[in-house]
Amino acid sequence: MAQVTKRHPASNTYARALLEIAQEAEAGDAFADQLSAFAAALGSDRQMRVFFESPKIPCEEKKKVLKTCLTGKVSPPVLNLLQILLDKGRQGLFSEVAEVFGELLDEARGRLQVSIASAKPLSDGARDNLVALLKERTGGEIIASETVDADLLGGMTVRIGDTVIDGSLRTKLKHVGEAMSAPRLGRNLLG
């Protein structure tokens, strides 16, 4: 079943702060690459995640390791952000901040990441029509990713940032079910 992951609001705050610095320095792509490389490294290695998330290891030691390993290899604002996240005990948000930063950068450049989930694979024509429609409505360049989710039963869901357009048959049937089971006071009063 396709799910919309709820993000921590702090991820947006940190990512937005870094974006401001990135835009001033005209280093958005570099920052995005560095953040996503770090997130990918964490995602690929369990010991590393344990290291950063373990309460047994003092924050200062974690920051020292980051500084030793990444100084001169990632931009200072990126390193600072990672250290701030450690200071605030938000190391669990490393990957999410990287993801949100990439999306905000895309948004700032008029590029929109769109996730399309459909019950059956879309035909080329249907996909092109959908992308053209989204481009017309949003005015942005659409970068679409597709998944097939048979649980939707029919139709599709489209996610653009935090907005989800749910045109799935599953949701429509759910609404019909809810409407049918709702109390029908008017008819009851008339007997």
Binding site: A30, D33, Q34, S36, A37, F38, A40, A41, S44, D45, R46, Q47, M48, V50, F51, S54, K56, I57, V65, T68, C69, L70, G72, K73, V74, S75
Partner: protein
Amino acid sequence: MKMNADEITSVLKKEIEGYGSQLTVAEDGTVL
């Protein structure tokens, strides 16, 4: 200034080697 995920993994892993036992986690079970 560009570093890929493998390079980051490599340098960080080398640096955290010394924490050995503190990085051992049980394969099964749930942290409560």
